[in-house]
Amino acid sequence: MSIFIYGLTQSVTLMLYGYGFSLVYGISGIANFAHGGFYVLGGYITWCIINLLGLSQFTSAVLTVLIMGFLGFVFYWGILLRIRGIILSELVITFVAGIAILEFLNWKGLYGFYYNLLPFVEGDITVGEVSVDYQRLIVLCSGAVLAGLMWLFVHHTKIGLSFRGIAQEERTALSLGIESDWVGSLSMALGSALAAVAAILILPLGVLEANVGYEVLIYAVTVAIVGGLESTPGMVLASFIIGFGQILVAEFIGSSWMIIVPLATIVVILALRPSGLFGKFKELEERV
């Protein structure tokens, strides 16, 4: 039972990590390696708003998501647009921007236990014989709700549809009047907002440290790659496989081996089925 519950939370956590990354890559084709940086920055901004401005937890969460969305937009519009198409530069710049954010926060003293976000609701509930704190339940529920909302968004709103248009066939979408720079910036904004949402939900379970960012990045990349870079269902499935895999390994082998699971999965999946579990578009293109 405990394996089931912890596996479930771990899986949803991974899904939340990966959502923003996979969205941005699917739409604008930019592997945003600053994702981990955005995640921690989101947590830090929330902490600042709560503790320095003294606003309530809910208001600051909403504010943070808005601020992070705006920052993501600026990041794409101001920086990435100038070197779009030079894959090497895109990669180096997103990576380096992520490191810059994390190192800056490290310098601000973002390690240890001083900075932490409180859970939304204190206390726990016993399911079977395992006690689960409410925050984990909130993570579970909001993960499910978020996945549903995102599905509705990309299938039934105008912006969402234009996202999918650009993702599927950029030139055709352009000829139909969808502007790819604009959509790319919006996707980056949404991606960073999702990173902030993940941070606000998940960080109360652990500590707010700059070094968390690197781990989040590894997980986000793994989940997105294993699932197939443009496929959301694939990503969800991948996070469940890896999440449960991790919990099983922690239970039977030792928790220091947990990080090995996603890394080994990524190597195996890419060697056997390079376009990921559900990826279809890129199959012919990426593999001769």
Partner: protein, 338 residues
């Protein structure tokens, strides 16, 4: 006057006369032409010989460090020339370092054996390891290569292999610092000139063709996978040499040999210097590594400034420094009326 008839100007680039002349046999006609050809090739050589003699001990170490990163950047660029976009130079570095360290400690081999053994053996190991994923292209190959070094370092820590977190210590140092510096600098220069020669030959032409259109090369009856394996072997040999050198230089090798720095800095160096030219890779590391030392005064903010400078220079000069310099050297610009 109609607005559309306003005179417009555009910039035009033309080869310098001396460039056109020296492309042919007439280069030997004048001393100036010969200088034009020889200077860019001899200057780095002279610089490499003189630098270790001029600098103090601290900056000599920095030069050493820059040369190691230069080797890694060269290895990255060589893979890039055949279209393999690698993010895992740390794999080569770490494998070379661990192999040399293990041979030195457990079998008590002297340095002259460990260096070549780790270079060739490590290259063989990395090539065998990466051959299954050689069919991958673009970001997918990059992802595999970024993950494998992390996987290795975590396995070493979790499993306590090769001394686990503490690593292998008390390795044989080089006899003298100067010897070590010249060794690595000449390895760097040797690789640089060899790679530039290879890429100018037919062999390099095939490599570029594989990068640009692999199916066309296949239809020409060339086995592209065998070529990729060869390129992988060469690139990993260079990376392993850098690792083997570094482990003897530090007299220590630990899981940090697989750290992300060794993958990312060479990449940034190549991107800054101008990818695809090999000189750019060396130039980039010759700028980035001393820069990171010079920023040490900023303490915790060092990495932040470093990253910001890198981002700014990549936006301002997207083609890379070497492309820019080469253009200025060979061509002049003028404004012409349209």
């Amino acid at each position: 006057m109609d607005k559309s008839e306003k005179t417009q100007f555009r910039r035009e680039r033309l080869d310098r006369g001396i460039k056109a002349r020296t492309d042919t046999i007439y280069a030997i006609a004048s001393f100036r032409d010969m200088l034009y050809l020889i200077l860019p090739r001899v200057l780095p050589l002279v610089l490499m010989v003189v630098l270790p003699l001029l600098l103090g001990e601290y900056w000599r170490k920095v030069v050493c460090y820059a040369a190691v990163y230069g080797l890694l950047a060269l290895s990255w660029d060589f893979l890039g020339a055949i279209g393999l976009f690698s993010l895992g130079q740390a794999l080569f570095f770490g494998v070379g370092a661990y192999m040399a360290g293990a041979l030195n400690l457990y079998f008590e081999w002297p340095i002259y054996y460990t260096l070549p053994a780790a270079t060739l053996g490590g290259a063989l190991f990395c090539t065998l390891l990466l051959t299954p994923v050689i069919r991958l292209k673009g970001v997918y190959f990059a992802m595999v290569t970024i993950v494998i070094p992390i996987l290795f370092s975590r396995t070493i820590v979790a499993g306590g292999i090769f001394g686990g977190t503490h690593g292998i210590v008390n390795l044989t140092p080089f006899k003298s610092d100067l010897l070590a510096e010249y060794l690595i600098l000449f390895a760097l220069i040797g690789c640089l000139f060899a790679f530039r020669r290879v890429i100018g030959e037919d062999y390099g032409l095939v490599m570029h063709a594989i990068r640009d259109d692999d199916r066309a090369v296949m239809s020409a009856g060339i086995n592209i996978y065998w070529r990729k394996v060869q390129a992988l072997f060469v690139a990993s040999a260079v990376g392993c040499l850098a690792g083997a050198f570094m482990c003897h230089n530090y007299q220590f090798v630990g899981p940090s040999a697989f750290s992300l720095d060794y993958s990312l800095l060479p990449l940034a160096a190549a991107a800054l210097g101008g990818p695809g030219t090999f000189v750019g890779a060396v130039l980039g590391s010759a700028i980035l590594i001393p820069l990171s030392e010079a920023l040490r005064d900023f303490g915790g903010l060092r990495m932040v400034f470093y990253c910001l400078i890198l981002i700014a220079s990549m936006i301002l000069l997207p083609e890379g420094i070497f492309h820019y310099i080469a253009r200025k050297y060979h061509q002049f610009e003028r404004t012409v009326k349209i």
